[in-house]
Subunit: 77 residues, 2 copies
């Protein structure tokens, strides 16, 4: 089954890429954008039909490889 994972920077961690996107949007007729934070998205196909098992595997992957837990949070959809 497919598991979707989002990895985002923790609150308080500077996100210069997001800031650059925000400033560009502000200069493009989107003046009401007050903040943009960028993160990563992973679409993972796991050969495992049990949803609970697949999600717990995805969680392991986040802890071990996909996210840097010092500065990032992860969320499994």
């Amino acid at each position: 089954m497919k598991v979707k994972v989002i990895v985002t920077l923790k609150k308080g961690v500077l996100d210069p890429q997001g800031k650059a996107i925000q400033q560009t949007l502000n200069g493009m007729a989107f003046g009401n954008v007050s903040e943009v934070r960028q993160g990563k998205f992973f679409d993972i196909e796991i050969n495992e039909s049990d949803e609970t098992k697949a999600k717990s595997q995805a969680e392991e992957m986040c802890k071990k490889l996909l996210a840097n837990l010092v500065i990032e949070d992860y969320k499994i959809l």
Copy 2:
């Protein structure tokens, strides 16, 4: 309000970064991972209380800046 946007590569577009992650996972006791596709995630704070308006603005942003529609799809959550 906050709008979340996911930008992913279209089906069929090569994703070498996702492939590298998949191969790394396969070498790390996650042998049952058959595909990984990586995308981008944006958390956008818009000064607009109407949800429909905020989402249609986010869609405009995707079309004009956040996604390259030739090779990417976007999804507003």
